[in-house]
């Protein structure tokens, strides 16, 4: 190693180290990018409320608009959805006795919500899924036998169901279709 290479090594080391230190010092006066999750969030807004509409968090089922078509059960690649529904003339259509989702098994792929005709099964921005046992991760949506929803040709007029259906259809509209641009983009 010649003398010039020797001195160049010292010079390179000194300048690059000084430049690196200038960068870290410049970060010292930049604001941090993290938030103090979960309890000290900016303006007190929960993280869930800042997530986009498409966010694939915990699954949620709006039983009011579920048609019991079983499309989600068929679409699920890991069989974590189970629906029991039977025709019941007296009740006037399909009656669901079971709609269970094993959230411990769910891989949040969204394949179930895609074929849903009403957007009844959809992902929510809720992601805080820690629990104490696997059993408690099983979500059982049918508490008592429920009559499946039947879409009305003229549109929904029940003020209780209309907003839920509206949200569901909005969720469905986000998915791309072969017919053309989806959503409002």
């Amino acid at each position: 190693m010649g003398m010039s290479a020797y001195l160049r090594n010292i010079k390179d080391a000194a300048t690059t180290i000084a430049d690196g230190m200038a960068i870290t010092l410049s970060h010292f006066v930049r604001k941090p990018t993290t938030v103090e999750y979960p309890d000290r969030l900016p303006d007190g807004v929960r993280v869930q409320d800042t997530l986009p509409f498409r966010y694939r968090g915990m699954l949620e089922v709006d039983l009011e608009i579920c048609t019991a078509c079983l499309a989600c059960e068929r679409a699920c690649p890991i069989d974590c959805i189970v629906i029991d529904a039977a025709k019941d003339k007296a009740a006037g259509g399909l009656v669901m006795t079971r709609f269970d989702i094993d959230m411990a098994k769910c891989m949040y792929c969204g394949l179930c919500s895609e074929p849903c005709p009403t957007g009844a099964i959809h992902h929510t921005p809720e992601f805080e899924g820690a629990d104490y046992s696997l059993e408690s991760m099983v979500r059982r949506y049918v508490k008592a036998p429920t009559v499946a929803y039947k879409p009305k040709k003229a549109g929904e007029d029940d003020p209780r169901i209309a907003p839920i259906l509206d949200r569901g259809m909005r969720y469905i509209a986000e998915f791309a279709t072969p017919d053309g641009p989806s959503g409002d983009s």
Partner: protein, 406 residues
């Protein structure tokens, strides 16, 4: 210290019928205990908090913020947690050595405080071999680390211990050689003598005495970092290679002792560097009349200088990668040792040629340092501008927790 006790005896505060050495011993033990428990341990702990907050901001994070105001009590919580943890001794370890190693390390580190000059009067013992004593007792640390690495009976720990031994033994040489120019200029090894030979103004410090002492300052700081196992020389613990190296098998309080020594050592490095090169506790006023105020100001000055180097070490650690073991040796033997010898001979020649020193050189060196410092801050400003940051994205409050928005 001796004068202080003498004064107390003379004034009758301390009973005169007891032999004087009892008073000396009592005073030293009291002050020593005060220093260790009131200063050394808290400073090591608080430095961990400072390091974590500083590093967090350099990494666009917030850092510990839950325990106490701005997370300040985090160090205490960590200490208590470590105390309550199980002290695990691996079955295959050499139990006695394994248990003893942390004590050897901590003793080697705490003993250095005997000669740390906190202020003009506050020093446990102003030994006439002061700086030599420091280099001697810090060598105990390497014994402890090697013991820990060997006794753990873990191959990774052993590698860490060997690295540490090689590193500390090698870097003792440039560190020692870089002390000599200052010792030669002072003509004494005593810490207080070295400080008293300097003044309060930067151009009276040894760092700017001549070009060789300036180089010796850098060489000493680098070698001291290496002796303290700090990045870029943290090879003995190298998380990504040796998985904490010599400390892998330690848990609880014993692990804490290692880390206390490491962080406390930062302050020792700062204290010695400021003593040797930066005028120590020197203040511009004599303040003969009020020893308390004088000592307080001196203490503050010394602490600020020493803690700046703690900050510098932290800053370096969170900027630089780690060098490889062969490069560590190359750096020592091919770069630092020759440079240290040049400094030694250069200073000797300088003393022969200019026995009274050259004020012009002192002022020039001080001015050059000031210009470099300004250039550095200009570079910091350049980086901020290059990133396209506006005032809204900056915060000069080191404890700021507001999130940046784009």
């Amino acid at each position: 210290m001796q004068e202080l006790v003498d004064g107390l005896i003379a004034s009758g505060v301390a009973p005169a019928d007891v032999p004087a050495w009892v008073h000396y011993l009592t005073a030293m033990l009291t002050f020593g205990g005060l220093v260790v428990f009131g200063f050394v341990l808290p400073i090591a702990g608080i430095t961990t908090w400072v390091e974590r907050r500083v590093m967090a901001r350099m990494q666009s994070r917030i850092g510990p913020n839950r325990t106490g105001p701005a997370g300040f009590l985090q160090w205490l919580a960590d200490g208590i947690k470590n105390l309550l943890k199980e002290d695990i001794v691996p079955l295959a370890a050499d139990a006695m050595l394994f248990k003893a190693a942390p004590y050897v390390v901590i003793v080697g580190f705490v003993l250095t405080f005997v000669v740390v000059p906190f202020s003009g009067d506050l020093i446990i013992a102003d030994l006439n071999v002061g700086i030599l004593y420091v280099t001697a007792v810090t060598a105990l640390v390497v014994v402890g680390i090697l013991m820990a690495g060997w006794a753990s009976n873990n191959k990774w720990s052993l590698l860490g211990g060997i690295r540490s031994a090689a590193q500390i033994v090698s870097y003792e040489i440039p560190a020692g050689l870089s002390i000599f120019p200052v010792v030669m200029l002072t003509g004494s090894l005593g810490m207080q003598d070295i400080i008293r030979a300097q003044g309060a103004a930067p151009w009276t410090w040894y760092i700017f005495d001549n070009p060789f002492t300036l180089m010796a300052f850098f060489a000493f700081f680098v070698a001291a970092l290496a002796e303290g196992n700090r990045t870029p020389f943290d090879l003995p613990e190298a998380e990504s290679e040796l998985v904490a190296g010599f400390a892998t098998e330690y848990s609880g309080m014993r692990n804490l002792l290692f880390f206390m020594a490491e962080w406390g050592n930062l302050y020792v490095i700062g204290a010695i560097v400021s003593t040797l090169f930066l005028g120590g506790w020197q203040i511009p006023f004599a303040l003969e009349g009020s020893p308390v105020l004088r000592n307080a100001l001196q203490f503050g000055t010394f602490f600020t200088k020493a803690y700046f180097f703690v900050f510098l070490a932290i800053w370096l650690r969170w900027t630089l990668p780690r060098i490889r073991v062969d490069q560590m040796m190359v750096m020592c033997w091919k770069y630092l040792v020759p440079i240290a010898f040049v400094n030694l001979i250069g200073t000797a020649a300088w003393m022969v040629l200019f026995p009274a020193g050259v004020p012009l050189v002192r002022w020039t060196l001080t001015a050059v340092a000031a210009v470099l410092l300004v250039a550095f801050f200009w570079r910091v400003r350049f980086h901020l501008k290059h990133a396209g940051l506006t005032g809204q994205q900056l915060s000069f409050n080191p404890l700021s927790t507001t999130r940046v928005t784009w």
